[in-house]
Symmetry: C2
Subunit: 319 residues, 2 copies
């Protein structure tokens, strides 16, 4: 908490092409931890003192962009703020009649698309395949597991509480769920849950969970590395068993996955398909909503404690 500061500033004014948005929901996501590090990555690091950038859903108060008018509900990358001036070209309107607008930050937004891209393009499970999902009760994992099931896979998840595991097996229909916090021997638990080995692994976590999955990889297995949240707060270089020799035996493919590589023109199709799955009851989602922008830092830090089930959001109260 000492790392965050709440600042009062004057209301900003939109210039040509910009929108003034009153923020209803803002997102907290694990990837933000990477932007807060002064190291080379796929995006520029954020500077200390800059506001936290985040996906937001909000209402247009003032538009200087032809595609939008006051009252539109929009989403895109904004700030942890009550009001934000944003580039209209980077925003899109959402239809509040289709689904709760908050889903634009979760199942029908970046995390859901990440899951869609990873499962369909990287893991690409065949019917009967065993697919393991780490952080399976999270915003990305819970969608990924269900999409893998819709493709006919037998899905095993890991999560950090019995409540989460029960949700995965009882509500989402996962074949098995492993509570990594209470399981002494992750390797044995994973072997038991995956008697036919692992054909696909959608990894959001890394570390010891990945160590447990690795020896079970089948020939031509696919690993999509989406996140490594277990390591993001490491203060020294994390070490673990060397893994590459196993790839020779299995000719498995390991691929990094970043949602921004999923072509923009396919996002609409993905959102439409997943909206259809939700409407048909084939895709469930949960949101964990805290109230008040002043609670955003706690909500963010809670991600690393595994406090959320499904998508973690912050609802910003009307001033």
């Amino acid at each position: 908490m000492d790392s965050f500061e709440f600042r009062e500033t004057g209301a900003p004014t939109p210039r040509f092409g910009e929108l003034l948005v009153r923020v209803h929901y803002l997102s907290v996501d694990p990837y933000m931890r990477g932007r807060m590090r002064d190291a080379e990555s796929y995006a520029e690091p954020w500077d200390v003192g800059d506001p936290m950038r985040a996906g937001i859903v909000g209402e247009v108060l003032e538009s200087n962009h032809d595609d939008f008018e006051a009252g539109d509900i929009v989403t895109g990358d904004g700030l942890w703020a009550e009001h934000a001036v944003v580039d209209g070209d980077e925003f899109r309107t959402i239809n509040p009649d289709l689904a709760p607008v908050s889903t634009a930050l979760g199942v029908l937004g970046m995390p859901g698309i990440t899951a869609y891209y990873g499962v369909n393009d990287i893991i690409a499970p065949d019917p009967g395949d065993t697919v393991v999902i780490s952080a399976a009760a999270g915003a990305v994992g819970s969608v990924a597991g269900q999409l893998a099931q819709l493709a006919g896979a037998r899905v095993v998840g890991t999560a950090g509480s019995d409540t989460k595991c029960d949700w995965l097996t009882d509500d989402l229909g996962f074949e098995a769920a492993i509570n990594y916090k209470t399981t002494d021997d992750l390797g044995a638990a994973m072997r038991e849950a995956c008697p036919d080995g692992v054909d696909g692994y959608f990894d959001n976590v890394g570390g010891p969970i990945t160590d447990a999955v690795w020896p079970l990889l089948n020939v031509r297995a696919s690993v999509g590395v989406c996140g490594q949240i277990a390591l993001y707060n490491a203060t020294e270089v994390p070490t673990g068993p060397r893994k590459l020799a196993q790839l020779i035996q299995t000719r498995a493919t390991v691929e990094g996955l970043l949602v921004s590589d999923f072509p923009q023109e396919e996002w609409g199709t993905a959102i439409k398909r997943m909206g259809g799955f939700i409407a048909e009851g084939d895709l469930e989602y949960r949101e964990n909503v805290v109230e008040g922008i002043e609670n955003a830092p706690d909500a963010f830090l809670g991600l690393f404690e595994g406090e959320n089930i499904g998508k973690q959001l912050v609802q910003v109260r009307e001033a």
Copy 2:
């Protein structure tokens, strides 16, 4: 050496479809170490007390197979033996006028095909790409590096002696070669040799060399894991820096590579193309030949000390 035993047995007799071959050359290869371990892998482990299997080149003394006659020079998988009875279906004749017959175990055999497959199908370098090859002076690496150069890549190799490094840069035209045994800071040496990062990495070694390459991987880099010789004699699970997070930033792909996955019907094309490169002076090779089957164990163990330049062979003397 205590692990090997030389046995005198009666001359075996070929049955229907089999050949009796007098062995001229037998191969020692790092992969054999994996077969000598009682662990699940892509092939069955060998039993203690069984003869060492190996690629051989030899002369047919007696044929019970329609495709062969006495006097043919043949190659295929045989044994560390002076005479071997083999399945004719698994053997092919070689033309001694095209190239020295020993090359059927090296540049125009399994190691060369491994390099060909890895460079063309897994690394697939574009002109101007930087490609790193570990064990670059070995049977696979030296061919892989030259094939990558023929594809237009800028190639950097690692090897274990100044003599090897000089061969790579002075004779084979590598951009740089790093002697990993005398370099204090492999990471710094690799950074210096690869100022534009690494687009392709053909890994025969693993361990600290791979640790040095990893932070330099560029976006969409390709890693082919062909061998991990640095780890094959490990008595405990080798550990090292965790590497998967880097794949998210780079969306690099890491793939295990096994020559047996390269379609049999394409081997002939690959051999013909590489034979053409040799004839045109675009592909150099070296062979390290020891005499006498009794020296095969030492030659094999020497692989793990990096004693060979190019392909390590054992020439079997006429009894």
